[in-house]
């Protein structure tokens, strides 16, 4: 029937075979690193990097060769479950996939290369590279898979590799706790993902994305019921819930409110890992997933996504304002940027969201690696001088631009990209996103004012905050005095050395990718971007979706982007000036900041503690959960077990009772009858006591009885 057509196996084509090779390379690297002896770790790591480089080249070739060509799809039957259409698996290579392949492989390669220097003295060097391979493999799996089930599988696997990499320094309690937290929070999202899958499975009995698209289009929405062409009927709400549930998966992985708490903690992992996983690729998987299933979402789910995205963008930016840790700032910034992307998905700016994903991947990776360089340099400094200080605390840094000029350059370029300064990549993608959001608010509110404007409003507000915290970071790290030295005057700044070449080269490549010119011929207008030209938002196929919605959005987006650009530039200037004013070298505010221990007001505390989400979770979920668990255990011990025990004891008592009854009653009866007979004998014998008077007595007694009987 229809299913056999929908899910028919599709043959392998050269591009998909290439995909398979690309997928296999990191896995082979993982196996190599996992099985080879520790002695050969250096050369093996170079081989691993080489394999990723090869994969990157292949994916670049793949991108170029499949540019603007229709999607390549290969599908094969995976397994059969009783009475159901076959469960398939396969590779779906479209433009998104090809682009993501390049991004993941390139960044992965750069991180591999960077790590050979960064991790060179680490005990777990081999383990580290193995897990990097595993991660790359899983990430590529998400990108290529044509089936939500497969995506889910790799989805969990990236969670696993993220877990393993965060807990790389497992001897540190904070690292192992962070890893655990990351995995569990991701699991929460995954549970939602699973429910989304279940809803789709119930309706369509398949999870193949291409088939789902067809089936979704065929399904009907009428009278509050959502009927699939299979005849399965659900309440229409489930259509929205399916979208939201799938988004829940993305919320977990992409650290969206309220599941963003794991990402800052994940900075416990090595910095290159943070760059690869927690900035560039894995956290973007949520965005990628949403893009994959974009056409299956309905308007309510989209609104939900946009709202959550905007809230997260704002919350992340606020939290980034007051962090001391150089990586934490970047982590919150990542959360914020991911919020932007998902807001983009939610507002229908599909292409802008993906565009931002790619630009962000590069500049954020660059930022992280640059931050890694700073940390590396300071660690070396710490090592050389024997000073003890926290190499990640920005309050200890300052003035490093002189000693780490190269790092400063990369950091500056990518910071500007992140802030969204014109001529840098971030400007293009962020503007596209904001104009999309603005257009969406216009469309949704139907011209009048409404709460929909809060979404672009939060977006613009976040621009201010982004500029503020990035300027703050730049100023704190690279300008002013090197504060460790100013505290310990017997050392000089000269002892801080620039990082090795291999690290620098990674920064170069990523820094270049942060420039606007790479992405667009006209770096002031995102609509001229070659990139956006290639990405086109697909038409949403959900039943009951307004067909005019997307064209109207695009129309408005084009018309409003000039004003959006102006607004955002104004916002950036405001943010940048505030940042400069507060944290310029020698400013009183900055001075007081370096000395104080605690946050000075409620707002700062709120920001520093990431809106107290951790505490809230502890209070609302963790504590009650543990309390209930312990309660259940003691309930089991005290109530169930005791009931069982007392049942057993009662049984024993009953047995004893029955034993007693047996002895006393049953045996007693026998004994008694014997005793009774004997007694009777004794009694009658005693009557025959030879005592005549006794006989007479009894006779008289008899007479008494007789008289008694007669007169009554």
């Amino acid at each position: 029937m229809e299913y056999s057509e929908l899910l028919q196996p599709l043959p392998w084509t050269p591009p998909t075979i290439l995909c398979l090779v690309i997928l296999a390379l990191p896995f082979v690297s993982f196996l190599l690193m996992a099985t080879t002896p520790n002695g050969s770790r250096k050369p093996m790591s170079w081989i691993a990097s080489g394999m990723i480089l090869f994969a990157a080249c292949l994916s670049l070739y793949l991108l170029l060769s499949t540019w603007a060509s229709p999607a390549n799809h290969t599908r094969f039957e995976w397994f059969t479950i009783a009475g159901m259409p076959k469960v398939t698996a396969g590779i779906l290579l479209d433009i998104n996939t090809a682009l993501m392949l390049v991004v993941v492989n390139v960044i992965s390669f750069l991180v591999h290369a960077y790590s050979t220097a960064y991790m060179k003295d680490d005990e777990g060097y081999k383990k580290y590279f193995a897990f990097l391979g595993l991660f790359t493999f899983s990430m590529l799996g998400i990108i290529m898979a044509d089936n939500l089930l497969i995506i889910f599988i790799f989805w969990e696997l990236v969670g696993l590799s993220s877990y393993l990499l965060i807990s790389h320094w497992y001897q540190k309690d904070s690292a192992s706790k962070a890893a655990k937290k990351a995995f569990i929070v991701n699991r929460v999202g995954d549970a939602g993902f699973l429910i989304g899958l279940a809803i789709l499975w119930v309706q369509f009995n398949t999870l193949d994305i291409e088939a789902l698209k067809v089936l979704m289009q065929q399904s009907m929405l009428a009278e509050g019921q959502w009927a699939s062409s299979l005849g399965h009927v659900l309440n229409a709400d489930w259509l929205t819930i399916a979208g939201i549930a799938l988004f829940l998966g993305a919320m977990g992985k992409s650290a969206q409110f309220p599941l963003q708490i794991w990402l800052p903690d994940a900075m416990e992992g090595p910095t290159p890992v943070s760059a690869l996983i927690h900035a560039a690729t894995m956290v973007a998987a949520g965005v990628f997933l949403m893009a994959r299933i974009f056409v299956l979402l309905d308007i309510h789910a989209l609104t939900f996504i946009a709202t959550i995205g905007a809230i997260t963008a704002f919350m992340g930016a606020v939290a980034a304002l007051t962090q001391h840790d150089i990586k934490k700032v970047l982590a919150y910034s990542t959360i914020s940027q991911l919020g932007y992307m998902l807001m983009g998905i939610g507002v229908g700016a599909y292409d802008a969201a993906l565009f931002h994903l790619f630009t962000h991947a590069f500049f954020k990776a660059c930022l992280f690696l640059a931050a890694g360089s700073v940390i590396y340099a300071l660690h070396e400094f710490e090592h050389d001088t024997g000073l003890k200080f926290d190499a990640q605390d920005m309050r200890n840094m300052g003035g490093l631009r002189k000693k780490l000029p190269f790092t400063f350059l990369a950091y500056g370029v990518s910071s500007l990209a992140l802030i969204g300064i014109p001529f840098f990549s971030g400007f293009l993608s962020k503007d596209a996103l904001l104009s999309g959001a603005y257009a969406w608010a216009d469309v949704m509110s139907g011209g009048g004012f409404s709460f929909y404007y809060l979404v672009p409003g939060l977006g613009f507000l976040t621009v201010v905050l982004t500029a503020l915290y990035m300027f703050r970071q730049l100023l704190l790290v690279f300008f002013g005095d090197f504060r460790v030295i100013s505290k310990h005057s017997d050392h000089s700044l000269n002892e801080v050395k620039e990082v090795p070449f291999v690290m620098k080269s990674a920064l170069i490549i990523l820094g270049i990718m942060s420039l606007g010119l790479v992405w667009s011929i006209n770096p002031l207008d995102h609509s001229h971007s070659w990139f956006l030209g290639a990405l086109k938002a697909p038409a949403i196929l959900t039943p009951g979706f307004d067909i005019d919605w997307q064209p109207r959005l695009i129309e408005l987006m084009f018309s409003n982007h000039i004003e959006v650009t102006l607004i955002s530039i104004t916002m950036i200037i405001i943010g940048a000036l505030t940042g400069w004013y507060l944290y310029r070298p020698g400013s009183p505010y900055a001075k007081s900041y370096f000395d104080r221990k605690d946050t000075i007001n409620k707002f700062q505390a709120l920001s520093y503690n990431n809106w107290y989400l951790n505490e809230a979770y502890k209070l609302i979920i963790e504590k009650p959960l543990l309390w209930i668990s312990n309660g259940l255990t003691s309930f089991e011990k005290r109530v169930i077990d005791r009931a069982i025990d007392s049942l057993a004891i009662g049984n024993v008592i009953l047995a004893h009772l029955i034993g007693w009854i047996d002895r006393m009653v049953v045996d007693g009866f026998v004994n008694f009858s014997v005793f009774f007979a004997g007694r009777i004998g004794v009694m009658t014998k005693s009557l025959q006591g030879g005592k005549i008077q006794s006989y007479i007595l009894i006779a008289v007694f008899g007479i008494v009885l007789m008289i008694f009987w007669i007169i009554w």
């Binding site: 995976w78 397994f79 059969t80 479950i81 009783a82 009475g83 159901m84 089930l149 889910f152 599988i153 790799f154 989805w155 969990e156 696997l157 696993l160 877990y163 393993l164 807990s167 497992y170 001897q171 540190k172 309690d173 690292a175 192992s176 706790k177 890893a179 655990k180 995995f183 569990i184 699991r187 929460v188 995954d190 549970a191 699973l194 429910i195 899958l197 279940a198 809803i199 499975w201 119930v202 399965h232 009927v233 659900l234 959960l625 543990l626 209930i628 668990s629 312990n630 259940l632 255990t633 089991e636 169930i640 077990d641 069982i644 057993a648």
Partner: protein, 576 residues
């Protein structure tokens, strides 16, 4: 020739060996473990033959001809004058549901032998009991005659009791008696139902012979059986010509029920105001629920696991729990489908309750083995939920979970055994940072913990996801299990991640130190024998996770028929 007797060999070979070991002179008692290992090897070879010879396109389930490797020999025949004739057969055979269990059992039992290699104490007794257990387990999975099934089912109890009670930990007396009482209680419920079924069901073939339609069993044609059944339904058969049977397959056939008997499907008898068949299902469910185990009848499990020696924990978690689930499928669901449908909401509810309750308790466990035991409770809840949904996905998922949990929980108990072997202490907080001291061990722990929490790539994932899909779709396909149960069950996945990761974090990560009675020099990394045990389980869990067809091919036909029979047939009956 071999095919016909394959199952019998599988059952009676260990039994014979048990007798041989019991008769060994004390001077050569050390070879008893070699004998047991040899039997295990032979069984493995036979299992391969079984797997290769099995025709997965035949469903079995409720058709006598559909069972493969079947042997059906009269066993007990009694003339009961006016009560008719009693006939119990030695009837064994496998279909998709049971062959997976048989294969699982053989593998786990083999691994159990390797794990028992270090037993020093009362070697002869241990291994002969182990072999008796072996025979009873396989017998239970292949028996198709209720009496035979019950016999094997009860037979498992005794060696298990002694194995826990004699070779167990410090509180073994308590644990073994608790185990014994619980399961004995369950058996009694099953016995009641078995007898009432026996009184209600006839063997149409034998009755045809008895009635004079044919001279012997070979000559009986399906038409004759139909004639017997129509005569029976019209009350035209004299009672002394009825041949009562324990045959489970006959029990699934509506036509074989004596009108107005206790379990009659047409005119429902009421007992205490409840339909007798529903009560019977309830009893069967209770009986097997203890074995599965279902919260709140599970408290024997943590104690039994904690006190049992490692190999016995492995067998207990890997196979014995599955006997409960398998029995529920084979008897409860197949014979009384109307009851299964009527109570499906409750079955699903108890499944979900087990999932959450088990996970919560695991979260609060301070003992590694207890944690794993509770995780077993939690995972067996998925089996129940899948069965309750009675959708193809759900039931497949449930059967898959049974097999998958067999491998994974077996491995988990081996893992707990590794640490117990070295330190005789399983309290989680006594350890920290084991990853730096025992890196290889840690790798296996992480692998199996993740496998158990349903990480994709391992068998548990396929099982759990299909159970959840099935439970979710049940409400729109047959309306048996509401959606919220599936949604709550997914939180079980989160909780399982929580307790496993927390355990990993506490025991394996962090700075290396030990507390309490545990000394640092006790901890050495894995030994070759332990690799031999863990690697096969790892391979099986991985294979089943990546190529689910290996198992699904075996069970698909049976599951399809099973769902079809119960779904359609049961609903018809329930309406009556």
């Amino acid at each position: 020739m071999l095919y016909n007797h394959l199952l019998s060999i599988l059952v009676f070979l260990p039994l014979t060996a048990a007798i041989v070991i019991a008769l060994l002179p004390a001077s050569v008692k050390h070879i008893s473990k070699h004998i047991t290992l040899g039997i295990g090897c032979i069984q493995l070879i036979l299992a391969v033959i079984l797997y290769l010879g099995y025709n997965s396109s035949i469903a079995g389930v409720n058709t006598i001809d559909g069972f493969q490797f079947a042997v059906n020999i009269p066993w007990i025949n009694l003339e009961l004058s006016t009560l008719g004739k009693l006939s119990a057969h030695y009837f064994v055979g496998v279909d998709g549901l049971s062959i997976s269990m048989v294969l699982l059992s053989i593998v786990i039992l083999f691994i159990g032998v390797i794990s028992s290699w270090n037993i020093q104490d009362k070697v002869k007794g241990y291994f002969s009991l182990y072999l008796i257990l072996n025979a009873a387990i396989i017998g239970c999975f292949v028996a198709l005659d209720f009496l035979l099934f019950y016999l094997f089912f009860e037979f498992m109890l005794l060696p298990m009791y002694f194995l826990i009670g004699l070779w167990g930990g410090p509180r073994r007396d308590y644990a073994s008696i608790k185990f014994f009482l619980y399961t004995l209680l369950g058996s009694i419920f099953i016995l009641i139902v078995m007898i009432s079924l026996y009184l209600s069901v006839i063997d149409p073939t034998a009755t045809a012979v008895e009635y004079g339609l044919a001279d012997n069993i070979e000559q009986v044609t399906p038409e004759m059986e139909e004639k017997v059944q129509s005569l029976l339904s019209n009350n035209q058969l004299p009672t002394d010509k009825l041949v009562h049977t324990f045959n489970m397959i006959h029990m699934t056939n509506e036509g074989n029920y004596i009108p107005k008997s206790v379990m009659d499907m047409h005119a429902v008898r009421m007992i205490l105001g409840h339909p007798a068949r529903l009560l019977a299902f309830l009893l069967i469910f209770l009986g097997f629920a203890i074995k599965i185990p279902v919260v709140p009848l599970h408290t024997w499990l943590p104690d039994a696991h904690v006190e049992a020696p490692t190999p016995i924990s492995v067998v207990l978690a890997g196979i014995l729990l599955k006997v409960g689930a398998y029995g529920l499928i084979r008897t409860g669901f197949m014979i009384i489908p109307d009851g299964a449908l009527h109570y499906s909401w409750w079955i699903g509810f108890f499944g979900v309750l087990s999932i959450i309750y088990g996970a919560m308790n695991a979260l609060a466990s301070r003992d590694l083995k207890r944690l794993i035991a509770y995780s077993s409770v939690s995972h067996m809840g998925f089996v129940l939920l899948g069965l309750a949904s009675l959708t193809a996905e759900g039931v497949s998922g449930a059967v898959y979970q049974m097999v998958s949990h067999g491998f994974i929980s077996g491995a988990l108990f081996l893992i707990a055994g590794v640490i117990y072997d070295r330190t005789h202490n399983r309290v989680i907080e006594n350890y920290s940072g084991l990853a730096s001291q025992m890196p290889k061990y840690t790798i296996f722990v992480v692998i199996f913990f993740f496998a158990s929490m349903g990480l994709p790539g391992f068998s548990g994932f396929i099982a759990e996801i299909f159970v959840l899909l099935g439970a979710f779709s049940s409400s729109s396909i047959n309306g048996l299990v509401p959606k919220w149960m599936a949604i709550i069950a997914t939180t079980g996945l989160i909780l399982s991640a929580a307790y496993y990761l927390w355990a990993i974090q506490r025991m394996f990560f962090g700075k290396f130190f030990t507390k309490g009675p545990v000394k640092e020099d006790m901890l050495s990394d894995l030994k070759p024998r332990e690799y031999i045990m863990l690697i096969p389980l790892f391979v099986f869990a991985l294979l089943l996770g990546i190529f689910p067809d290996i198992l699904l091919n075996l069970i698909n036909q049976s599951v399809t028929l099973f769902v079809d029979v119960i779904g359609n047939h049961g609903f018809q009956m329930l309406e009556k």
